[in-house]
């Protein structure tokens, strides 16, 4: 059997590079979407409300601005 150890290592480097790029992309996106700012804690209150149709008016302040 041929040993693919070195190609697999280069593939692993490439894969880790992709993951790093992805992680940085999503991290900066999270900064843009306010996860680290003054609205960082909104989500934890919203999740306590249920999302059934009649509850829409209650969760309006936390709703995405469309």
């Amino acid at each position: 059997m041929r040993d693919y150890s070195y190609p697999s290592v280069y593939f692993a480097y490439f894969y880790f590079f992709l993951l790093l790029v992805g992680a940085l992309f999503f991290f900066f996106r999270s900064v843009k979407h306010g996860y680290w700012g003054e609205h960082a804690e909104d989500a934890k209150y919203r999740m306590l409300e249920d999302d059934e149709p009649h509850s829409e008016e209650r969760s309006e302040p936390a709703r995405r601005e469309l």
């Binding site: 693919y4 993951l19 934890k44 249920d50 059934e52």
Partner: protein, 475 residues
């Protein structure tokens, strides 16, 4: 009728119950995954007992090849990991994610097809492990055609969840969704590496890839999905907002950065580079950062709420799971240190540690989720609060007995193995008392599984009458 201040296991708060009669969620997929996973939990629990019994009575079940340790052990491991825990976690994600996104599941039909395929895979795994069709790799025993089906099922699951998240009402995602999406991506990476990429390497590189897979099967599959569940259900069950969403994000990103590098600590003192061992040790110790970020957040959430632990069974499971999570994640970094590893590696310490992670922490989270979710999606009161409480104490006492016995036994075993004057067979004989306690602890844990499974399945099939239905509870 109970007052709101004494909400019991799995019961919808009376003031909230009416809402569930007009739910926009179908939950068919969640139901299918939960029914099947709990059934597998019970069946594979019997296999676990048989294995534990074989340690004490090695002649048990004779020489029937299908019932030998070598066949039953992979069945137990794969059955518990993929038949019970991952399937239950997937079922809970099908419940949680649409609710957190404020929309219906993207495709209920795709979800049902995923559930059908998943069950086919699990049944195939049962047959193949019993027949001995085994690739011979830890946690990657299943034959190739089942591995391919797992990948297909995972793509179906991932597509459904990602599309649901893409259609969400809210820009900001609660931390549970972050962990869920992370689980989907990391599982793809970890599973492909362990089951396909490892086949293209040889020797020690192959072993290293396998251990990367084994460790991250727990670290990047069951940990993130387990934490996703805990982050959802601890605030929900205790009706208290999470202490800090910002801290939960720090925990998520630090876990994402740290976990993937730790796999090589399974090969410390083995034939791999010292620098690789050192990197694995350093990252293993760094794991304390995300772990403490998570555990502190959960404990701070419970500030002023501990009195709920008296009669809130899901919360008992959740917070006991958090304690086990802390303990197991303290053990991990410590036994990756070279000096400790020289004693505990390959001993009974390791199954003690692994069971505390997979059963004590992540299965406790999943059980709590089932107790919370099943009465809601089936719109029935939980069959028995008392039985739920029994299941908790059976799991807890049996689990602690199992974990502690194996830690102590493992240390003892390691010290003996480090003494070349002691013949190996003597170290086996010396462990007999440990394995007896292990077996009886297993009996208690199986009692927990049986009471949990009976309670949930009785709730599902509606062994109650109209008076026990949730609609009636609001009247």
């Amino acid at each position: 009728m109970q007052s709101e201040s004494t909400i019991s296991a799995g019961e919808i708060p009376v003031s909230e119950a009416a809402r569930y009669n007009e739910s926009l969620h179908e939950d068919t997929t969640a139901k299918l995954f939960l029914v099947s996973s709990i059934t597998y939990f019970f069946i594979v629990g019997i296999v676990a007992l048989m294995i534990a019994a074989k340690f004490v009575w090695p002649e048990l079940l004779g020489t029937v090849q299908y019932l030998t340790y070598g066949r039953l052990r992979p069945l137990h491991v794969n059955g518990m990991l993929f038949g019970w825990l991952l399937a239950a976690d997937m079922g809970l994600m099908y419940y949680v994610v649409p609710r957190l996104c404020g929309v219906k599941l993207w495709s209920e039909k795709l979800g049902v097809a995923t559930a059908a395929l998943w069950n086919f895979i699990i049944l195939g795994a049962v047959v193949s492990t019993i027949m001995g069709w085994n690739q011979g790799w830890e946690y990657a025993e299943l034959p190739m055609f089942l591995d391919v089906l797992v990948v297909i099922a995972w793509v179906m699951f991932g597509a459904n969840i990602f599309m649901t998240v893409a259609n969400r009402k809210y820009t900001q995602m609660y931390v549970t969704i972050w962990y869920c999406l992370g689980t989907i991506l990391w599982t793809a990476f970890v599973y492909l590496t362990g089951n396909f990429a490892a086949l293209f390497a040889t020797g020690v590189n192959q072993a290293n890839l396998n251990w990367m897979y084994v460790h991250n099967a727990v670290g990047l599959i069951f940990t993130p999905v387990g934490l996703a569940i805990a982050y959802y259900f601890i605030p929900k069950v205790s009706n208290s907002p999470l202490h800090s969403h910002k801290l939960s994000m720090i925990g998520f990103w630090s876990l994402a950065f740290v976990y993937v590098w730790t796999g090589a600590h399974h090969m410390i003192h083995g034939p791999i580079s010292q620098w690789l061992q050192t990197i694995a040790i350093v990252f293993s110790v760094m794991l304390l950062v995300p772990v403490w970020a998570v555990v502190y957040n959960f404990f701070a959430t419970m500030r002023g709420q501990w009195d709920q632990m008296r009669d809130n069974v899901p919360l008992k499971f959740l917070m006991s799971g958090v304690v086990f999570y802390l303990l197991t994640c303290f053990q991990g970094p410590m036994h990756s240190l070279r000096s400790v590893n020289a004693i505990v590696s390959k001993t009974d310490w390791i199954p003690g540690h692994a069971h505390m992670a997979v059963l004590g922490a992540f299965s406790f989270f999943a059980i709590a989720g089932c107790y919370y979710v099943v009465p809601r999606i089936f719109r029935r009161k939980l069959y028995s609060d008392s039985l739920a409480n029994w299941s908790f104490w059976l799991f807890l006492i049996g689990g602690v007995g199992f974990f502690v016995t194996l830690w102590l036994g493992g240390f003892w075993q390691g010290w003996q193995w480090n003494n070349p004057a002691i013949p190996f067979i003597d170290t086996v004989i010396a462990l007999q008392p440990v394995w007896i306690v292990r077996f009886f602890s297993g009996v208690l844990m199986f009692g927990g599984i049986a009471t949990f499974a009976y309670n949930i399945l009785a709730t599902m099939v509606g062994s109650g009458t109209e008076s026990t239905k949730m609609a009636a509870a609001t009247a």
